[in-house]
């Protein structure tokens, strides 16, 4: 197997004064291989969107301070001069945003918007570009693409706009597609269509997908591997099957119990007590500590490291870590 496509190492994003920084992303590391679909799961405020934006260096610096490294095909994007990032954005890494209703320019036709992405990165004649736009629209399941090139975004429904967004993101055949909650603002039937579109894109373009979501069902549908984030930390990482069957982190276990199933007879859904601490309020130890059912004294002082539990399965929790490692770390 070739090397990883994307390797994020120790990514940290801070806001606020240097003396008392607020860490929104704290030492996140993750790896995506070519053609792989990786889900990044977490509640609102877990830092998953900022992580995605940092990969494309879209987090404004200042006010933010970003450190760590983002290796894309072995090349550190953090070291690329700001003026050169536009060659990577759209061309090597495409991105789909959360809000299809407002992620398209309301005063440009959808044809022009897709064409813009091609124009920026490829040398093609106008006719070739138009042909490619039509192909892309057909690919994302837009009926009668030729007729709809000249339509404006407000003429489309949310699901259709998300398809247009996908066409923009895939315009230059990027090796990695980052989808930031692509289904959040859509109703359930349209969600299913957009997910089918993701799978289809992956199959046809052989692109890797980084799917950011808070919906474990979406992850189960699309992804091979899952990264669970909480308060700026990676809590657990495993292939999808392992994560759903044999989770080693109390937070992930809580999340999984909160998903309603068709067969369950319980009246109330399970919930994890409390809510995500606001960034900056927990400075030492594990940020999940106040809500955790298995908390120990040690959790108050030390953030547990990611401990390997099996092939590619890692979790950051003192309570579930193998005894030897937990004690070894302490010694």
């Amino acid at each position: 197997m070739t090397g990883p496509l994307l390797e994020v190492k120790d990514l940290t994003v801070e806001f606020g004064p240097k003396r008392a920084p607020i860490r929104v992303v704290d030492g996140v590391s993750l790896t995506i291989h070519p053609g792989e679909a990786v889900g990044v799961v977490g509640e609102s405020g877990s830092g998953k969107s900022i992580t995605a934006l940092s990969i494309l260096r879209l987090v404004p610096e200042p006010p933010a301070r970003v450190s760590g490294s983002v290796l894309f095909e072995g090349r550190d994007l953090m070291a690329v001069p700001k003026g050169q990032m536009h060659r990577i954005r759209g061309k090597e890494i495409g991105m789909i945003f959360q809000e299809p209703m407002s992620s398209l320019n309301p005063v440009m036709t959808i044809g022009d918007q897709i064409e813009e992405a091609i124009l920026l990165h490829e040398k093609m004649s106008r006719a070739e570009r138009r042909a490619r736009v039509v192909d892309l629209l057909r690919l994302v399941g837009m009926p009668d693409p030729e007729q709809r090139l000249g339509a404006y975004p407000d003429q489309f429904s949310g699901g259709m706009r998300q398809r247009v967004m996908a066409a923009v993101a895939m315009a230059c055949n990027p090796k990695l597609l980052i989808a930031d909650e692509p289904t959040t603002a859509l109703d359930v039937t349209i969600q299913a269509q957009v997910l089918a579109l993701m799978l289809d894109i992956r199959k046809r373009f052989n692109s890797a997908i980084m799917l950011i979501t808070h919906d474990l069902g979406v992850v189960a549908e699309v992804c091979e591997r899952v990264v669970v984030m909480y308060a700026g930390h990676v809590f657990e990482e495993a292939d999808t099957r392992t994560l759903f069957r044999d989770s080693r982190h109390p937070y992930t276990q809580g999340l999984l119990r909160s998903v309603p199933t068709l067969t369950s007879t319980q009246k109330r859904l399970h919930q994890i007590e409390g809510s995500v601490p606001p960034p900056g309020t927990i400075t030492a130890g594990c940020p999940f500590r106040p809500r955790c059912s298995q908390r120990m004294d040690r959790c108050a002082t030390e953030m547990p490291p990611l401990v390997t539990h099996g092939d590619g399965h890692r979790a950051a929790c003192w309570a579930t870590a193998p005894k030897a490692i937990a004690q070894g770390e302490a010694a």
């Binding site: 536009h86 007729q147 339509a151 269509q193 069902g217 979406v218």
Partner: protein
């Protein structure tokens, strides 16, 4: 767990794609139609403005006399079949002077708001988009200019530079620029936060193109409204400057200096003052009415 989402993987995409119809798009023609026919008064105002523009363009053809030709035998005549609006103290035909005067008034009314819109929008967009020190410098400059009323600023500059055509255009442009810059800056701050701007950056669009293609087209509506409203002000201020003697210089006619000349001669004939004043009133009123209609159509907050 995967039963929580309906399985979709195997089906071809086309079967899933909704066969929804496109929502109708109100084109440019329909938008203009909305502006014109929203109220009867707007139709009248549009006809009036069209008439005045035609008069200004065709002045040499329709003016019965040379507006500068003096005649000692025809001084202070009341309206008659030869001179519909009478003559002034130099025996010049008032109607011809009003007709030629419309050229000066309308060209200022159109040109200076346009130039001010271009200058002000550029400054405002740059300030709003880049922020930081750029924004602070431009904003303080605008604040300084805004501290002076437009008219006072215009009088200051006109008095310093003199009253040639281009000087007055510059005067009015400078006087109007801050207003456009403020509006453009505020709108840019709002548009800059829009997800579509971030999405464009994420697809590799560079900053100059972001501004030209994604920011400016989305802030144009309030700028257009401001332009129509300030056309009226431009005509008013040009008339004021000419009336004060620092605008269009005699003997060239402009509605402002027709009134000024008439004032010195008020007791011999009232026609220059009355007709000059009426011309200004009618045009300014008509432009303001159109401006209101444009605002109502372009502003989504006001229901129609």
């Amino acid at each position: 767990m995967s039963e929580t989402v309906a399985p979709t993987g195997g089906k071809p995409l086309d079967a899933l794609a909704e066969r929804e119809a496109l929502a109708p798009e109100p084109g440019l023609g329909r938008t203009i139609g909305l502006v014109l026919f929203s109220r009867p008064s707007t139709i009248v105002a549009t006809v009036v403005i069209a008439l005045f523009i035609a008069i200004a363009l065709l002045a040499p053809v329709i003016a019965p006399y040379d507006p500068l030709r003096q005649s000692l035998l025809q001084i202070n005549k009341p309206p008659s079949w030869e001179h519909w609006l009478g003559t002034d103290q130099f025996g010049r035909d008032v109607l011809s002077r009003i007709i030629y005067g419309s050229r000066n008034s309308l060209i200022f009314g159109l040109l200076s708001p346009l130039l001010a819109a271009i200058a002000g929008t550029s400054l405002g967009v740059v300030a709003g988009y880049f922020g930081g020190i750029v924004d602070r410098v431009i904003s303080r400059l605008i604040d300084t200019l805004m501290a002076f009323p437009e008219l006072l600023l215009a009088i200051l500059i006109a008095a310093a530079l003199g009253g040639s055509f281009w000087n007055i255009v510059v005067v009015l442009t400078v006087a109007f620029t801050p207003g456009f810059a403020r509006v453009a800056r505020a709108s840019t701050l709002a548009v800059k936060q829009e997800p579509y701007v971030e999405a464009a950056i994420a697809s590799g669009v560079r900053t100059p193109l972001i501004i030209i293609r994604h920011v400016v087209p989305n802030i144009l509506a309030p700028i257009v409204v401001l332009m129509t409203l300030w056309s009226a002000s431009a005509i008013r201020i040009e008339a004021t400057l000419s009336f004060l003697g620092i605008g269009t210089q005699p003997p060239n006619p402009s509605w402002g200096n027709i009134i000024r000349d008439g004032l010195n001669n008020m007791f011999a004939t009232q026609m220059p003052i009355v007709s000059g004043g009426l011309a200004i009133t009618i045009v300014v009123l008509a432009i303001s009415l159109i401006g209101d209609a444009v605002r109502d159509v372009l502003d989504p907050e006001i229901s129609r």
